[in-house]
Symmetry: C3
Subunit: 289 residues, 3 copies
């Protein structure tokens, strides 16, 4: 019996990234759907749960993606609502790579500092899918997290979402651009610096972070030059730079791929797995980074 | 050479149900297309018939689905118009599971009563895809069929469509809701009662059918509580209840899946199979229900 | 590792033709996307190049199709812009079968006349995807090419596009319909006549071409009656008719399929192949026509 992955994507044109990884993670065929809205989900889920016997349903699974995290969360909720009793299939949420990328970065950081509890963390541009998940996982693990946003309102909304979803200690400061970075780092005095800002945007100049008292780890998830944290290189993977352990987007990316593929494989081991931030983080703990 | 199934779906987001069954029925790959209109069909069919030699064309087939039966019929007509001479592929119409579900129910009923010729049949809410096909097949087999509809005009249109498509004896009575069921059953005095109404809508209260003189079989295709015929359970499969043989949606559903998969397999045995209500019914006769 | 072909189609409903040939050409799975615009391409390409290690990237490739050649060219340009360094995958452009069909016809013609250099060629209705590519390849090979168009402006635009893309000697004459064919052939005095006009439209009556002084080859790519060059039959494959060597759409079509499939196979031999008109022509030279 073939392992079938239903890829529900909120984007009009479904992600090629997610479809490739679905294949490489062990799906025999991918049933991709684009432009999926909440209203489409119930019938698509019925198509999953009513076509194979309960004992065979671990060979069908659902992956939810797309650029918009909040839409992804709604699709996941609708999918969970459609299943019942033995009629259920495993599901995974990873809008824009949010969970797998965030988990990979957080695990790398945790292994570098041993324990994030009580540590001050600054997540620059922490309002996107990856930033939201990374900040949440770090806060939940006991770190004191501060996210930055270009706009107060958007930042406060993100901060509040993270706190209600993950709990823990989360603050927000406004940082409009790279010229304000030194000032923000002076105020927050982070031990861990994580950039989740957009591709090709420099947010933290080298002067703002290198040789800064107390900074232990700096991780930049922007892969497209100019990078987000000046001086870090994309291939950095626990590289020592000015007494700071640094990670670049590709240094983290290899582990992200490993986590993502392991998640796909996990979906087909049972018919009731639910892979979201916390469960993906747990799964990643068992993998070699 | 791979067995390729082109899934033409009139819905914007193509059915997951049909794609899963396509895989399980033997297709090596499914080429699914959503939002398909009549105007799209010719070139899609040319893509099927002009890409492999006539002797290999039995490895390509077309499945037509979507919620709307009348659109499905138009897509099938357009597909038939595009093929010619040795340049043809097998095709199947099953909008919303209409044919396979109707056939499964009708075969179950026929096996319970031996012969439907001359029998009075009442199909409640018989204006949907499944009701239209089931009523037609029963009328064609010689039963005296009455369908109900909430609205006179819609009911008459459905009745007329069934008669012109399948022939036989088809009547229609208006039945607005469950409170009118006893009255309708008094008038029609059915030996066979089949509910094809919407999910979660009770149409025939227990008092209206149980221990009713002459009623032999009652079959309810609604799988979502409240069920359509009160007192029948979804798993009923030739269950005896108050001297009536009853069938529920899951009791019929297992056979429907078997029919559907056998149809997919049949499509790839030759390059000119046409699977619509009658031919699917014929195929189902050879299967163990 | 599966060979994955990302099929980017500018049409709303992606081509079935291209997907079937992708499978038959060696792709293990086809990731088809419809309604693709320039703006969608970058992220789709990132999904290709960032999901597998550089050494494995020859197992991922991109096919660009759709009815509109100029959109196809833009999608290809956008795809090329997205790849860099070792992060690249092979790509092929074949909007509406333009390149593979044109190449197949041109190779057939070249083998019939040995050398097209200095030969006068008339391409009727040469403004569509196939005509543009065939005229360009013939001009580049040294033929004196004249295309016809129903409208002066459109014809001049096409002529200018061909010349700037392929170089060589390209002229245009207006030919509104079949009644003007004899006059146009009198003026151009072609040694090679190629019709790339629409399906079911006769453009060159028999009197206009048969036994015409100097005409050596006539090739008609219209497969739907009435054919474009009266007197040629679809299965003609170097058939002698009135001292002219003739080719019909199916006579060319078999070789077109061979070229198309060989292109798909080539895509997966390395991760930096670029298959457009010239490189497809080169590849076809090595195949038996």
């Amino acid at each position: 019996m073939k392992k079938l992955l239903l890829q529900l994507d909120s984007n009009r044109v479904p992600s090629a990234f997610d479809e490739v990884v679905a294949h490489d993670g062990g799906a025999d065929a991918v049933m991709q759907r684009g432009g999926v809205t909440e209203g489409d989900v119930r019938d698509l889920m019925y198509g999953c749960i009513f076509t194979r016997g309960p004992k065979d349903l671990r060979n069908t699974a659902v992956f939810i993606g797309g650029n918009d995290m909040s839409v992804g969360e709604k699709l996941l909720a609708a999918a969970q609502k459609a299943v019942f009793g033995p009629f259920r299939v495993s599901m995974m949420l990873d809008s824009n790579g949010s969970n797998t990328t965030a988990v990979a970065a957080v695990v790398k950081i945790e292994r570098a500092v041993r324990d994030v509890r009580g540590r001050k963390v600054l997540v620059t541009a922490g309002t996107g899918p990856v930033g939201l998940r990374a900040a949440g996982l770090l806060a939940k693990a006991g770190a004191h997290v501060t996210i930055t946003s270009r706009r107060d309102e958007e930042g406060e909304r993100a901060r509040s979402n993270i706190q209600s979803r993950f709990g823990g200690d989360v603050a927000m400061v406004c940082m409009r651009n790279a010229s304000e970075a030194a000032h923000v780092l002076d105020a927050v005095r982070p031990e861990i610096l994580l950039n989740t800002g957009p591709a090709g945007v420099l947010l933290v100049p080298r002067d703002a972070w290198s040789k800064r008292q107390g900074l232990v780890v700096a991780c930049d998830l922007n892969a497209v030059p100019p990078l987000g944290i000046e001086g870090i290189e994309v291939n950095d993977d626990a590289k020592g730079r000015d007494d700071v352990t640094t990670f670049g987007a590709i240094g983290v990316g290899g582990f992200k791929m490993k986590v993502h593929k392991a998640c796909i494989a996990r979906l087909f081991e049972r018919n009731d797995a639910l892979l979201d931030a916390e469960s993906i983080a747990e799964l990643a703990q068992g993998l070699q980074a």
